[in-house]
């Protein structure tokens, strides 16, 4: 019963966030707000940028790529050299080159795949300056791209999409940082540590237990990890760790944080293209996919764990293997689904220990391209690619020239949209196939059989979608996984950003077409339904054979789906 109230509360809170954060984002990126001019003006002067400077899509993209490469180099150096740098109370050595490369790529691409165990690999300086800074930056870059793409739809006969530097800066100072400053204190109040004191050594006289309790500046990193849909935990256990996610209330807040910006961007989109209902139509498609997947996974996890049943334990609680007592099954599944349907990838329970179909729900969220509601910014721009494809397919069926939010969809748009949709599945499937075929790949598996295949499929799906969650039994801190994984993450990030900015540039230059009797209206439930259909169809055509070999084969083997 409490859980039903919690879900209802989540819907209400997200509704308010959708309306008000959505409108706030419009004001931030259209330059209507000036209360932080005292930060913005000096920074822009330092960068040598006029406040009204605009960039074409190519310049926007070039700035983004240069900035990402520089971020990558700085992050790599900080990690590799942490042994010589301050704020290292555990005296940890520098991170090895392959792992530092993988981690730098992982955080710059907003993936936060972690081939290391946070608490015992990263110094406080690395956590704060290398990793948490990228949590802010990669998130703000994601929103900037989404805004640039929305401008592409909103502008008429324009050669520009905004300014990358200004958008990235505003996202951080107006949105990500203020929320983080306040929420960090809420997390500390609930029990997340925020200290530089180093590990605590405990001796409990009651049971004779000695413990070394790792701590650090956890809360400040935790909030941006969720808000920026990053997902890289301070500790290996991620949001299952009581210091990262101390209570049922923080668990709720973490879910709200990671859904907030992706959901709000649909309002921002509607507002900026001149019809909020266009945003509602897209949001409804996201909600349908989210709710369906959640119900699917929850039903499976409620059914219990076959190994535990075989050992003679019958429980009405569902599968508690790898789940925390304070969350139980309901809140564990809700968290993990929210985290895999956005590109967050943090987990509050072990994904690898989920039932086959429960784990398949998490995989599915990533396989339909992280759009329900998707990662911060990336969910919105990927969803718009699907919207373009949907009007195209709809147009083919009835023989009309497709239009979307008053823009004609023509050859150039369809080419870029197709590239944007195909890059991810091709990358994921090709690298999964290569990896299961070679010994270096198979050696990393913990659980053999179909579940082992799922571990590898899950890893590449997660990296290719910049999610970062894992069937963590896979021992992926090897040269092969570090380097190949980094390549997959780079393709997953920039392989979509490049075509989507090209698409936006082409749209921005176009004239607006007036709505006529022949226009296929997109602010309608009919469009929402078609959009969901196209997403499911594309996802199923790409991934059904792979899923059949993993989770479905596993479920068939022990003769039980739910």
């Amino acid at each position: 019963m409490a859980f039903v109230i919690e879900v209802a509360l989540l819907v209400v809170v997200l509704g308010l966030i959708w309306r008000y954060l959505g409108a706030y984002l419009v004001a931030v990126y259209e330059g209507h707000l000036h209360f932080l001019d005292w930060i913005e003006r000096p920074v822009l002067r330092l960068l040598g940028i006029q406040r009204d400077a605009e960039q074409s899509w190519k310049r926007y993209l070039r700035s983004l790529l240069v900035f990402s490469v520089v971020s990558l180099v700085i992050t790599y150096l900080l990690l590799a050299l942490q042994g010589h740098l301050p704020l290292n109370p555990e005296h940890l050595p520098g991170v090895t080159p392959a792992l530092a490369f993988n981690t730098a790529v992982s955080f710059v691409t907003n993936t936060n795949w972690q081939n290391y165990s946070g608490g015992v690999t990263m110094s406080y300086l690395s956590q704060m300056v290398a990793l948490a800074v990228q949590n802010f930056v990669s998130a703000s870059v994601g929103v900037a791209v989404a805004i640039a793409v929305i401008r592409g739809f909103a502008r008429k006969r324009s050669g520009t999409l905004g300014n990358f530097w200004i958008d990235t800066l505003r996202g951080i100072i107006y949105v990500l940082l203020p929320v983080s400053i306040v929420m960090t204190l809420v997390f500390v109040w609930q029990g997340a540590p925020q200290t530089l004191l180093g590990p605590a050594h405990i001796h409990n006289v009651l049971n004779g237990v000695h413990q070394t309790i790792l701590r650090g500046p956890v809360a400040s990193q935790e909030v941006i990890k969720q808000l920026g849909t990053n997902g890289g935990g301070f500790f290996n256990a991620n949001s299952a760790h009581p210091f990262e996610n101390p209570t049922g209330f923080t668990n709720f807040l973490q879910i709200v944080l990671l859904l907030s910006v992706p959901v709000a961007l649909t309002y921002t989109f509607g507002k900026m293209v001149g019809n909020v209902r266009e945003g509602v139509a897209v949001l409804m498609a996201m909600i349908i996919l989210f709710a369906g997947t959640f119900a699917f996974s929850l039903a499976a996890e409620k059914g219990g764990n076959p190994a535990i049943r075989a050992a003679g334990i019958t429980s009405t609680r569902g599968n508690m293997v790898g789940k925390e007592s304070r969350f139980g099954v309901d809140n564990s599944v809700l968290f993990n689904i929210a985290s895999t349907q956005t590109s967050t990838g943090s987990v509050n329970s072990s994904a690898d220990s989920y039932t086959p179909i429960g784990g398949m729900g998490m995989l599915a969220g990533m396989m339909y391209d992280e759009i329900s509601p998707g990662g911060i910014g990336s969910g919105m721009y990927t969803m718009l690619i699907f919207a373009v494809l949907t009007v195209f397919i709809g147009g083919l069926m009835v023989g009309r020239t497709p239009e979307y939010v008053k823009k004609k969809i023509q050859r150039t748009e369809i080419i870029w949209a197709s590239v944007g949709v195909l890059v991810m599945p091709i990358t994921v499937l090709v690298f999964t196939a290569i990896t299961v075929a070679i010994p270096a790949g198979r050696a990393a598996i913990l659980n053999h059989g179909p579940h082992g295949f799922s571990e590898i499929l899950y890893a590449f799906t997660s990296m290719g979608n910049n999610n970062g969650s894992a069937f963590a039994g896979l021992s992926s801190n090897t040269a092969y996984f570090n380097i190949v994984g980094a390549i997959v993450m780079l393709i997953g990030r920039f392989g979509i950003i490049i075509p989507v900015l090209a698409l936006a540039g082409s749209l921005a230059a176009k004239e607006e077409v007036p709505v006529s009797a022949g226009t296929f209206l997109t602010a309608t439930p009919m469009f929402t339904g078609l959009l969901v259909g196209v997403i499911l169809l594309v996802g199923a055509l790409n991934f059904f054979p792979a899923v059949a070999l993993g989770p479905i084969a596993e479920a068939v083997l022990h003769g039980r789906f739910f």
Partner: protein
Amino acid sequence: MLTQIRRAIILSVLFAVFLGIAYPLVEVGLANAIFPTQARGSITPYGSTEIGQHWTGTRWFHGRPDVDNDEATGGTNLGPRSKVLLNNTKTLVAFWHAQGVNPTQELVTTSGSEVDPDISQRSALVQIPMITRSTGIAPAKLRKLIVANTSGPQYGIFGDRIVNVLALNRGLAALEGK
């Protein structure tokens, strides 16, 4: 191109200083001023109330059977068809039956963090026969202790009903006059 690189470097340095150093340090200051206990990890002389411990023997209430390794946290990642998981669970079930306890699922499954500090109320209640046998404390008294240490769902809404094992065992020690 050079202009872009220069901009990227300047902005990265600014972000490193303000987001990487100033922001967390200001939060450390604020957190320690407003919530000093939580900011340092809720440490008591008996351990952190938030971090689970390994309770053994028959004189104490047990928590989740997590490994006794507080540094590298994270679940076992054993899949639902794992033989290791099946055998581990069978061993734990046999242990509990030997103590005259009919275990709940939490008492035979490890958690997601491997430092889960809590168990469900029922998981504490089923341990009463074992504790009574080794300490001589009446079951009714133990039941009262467990109920007094039960909390949740938090604010009536969030999470499950739980018992903090460290708090429960400190209550038990007080009952025994230790």
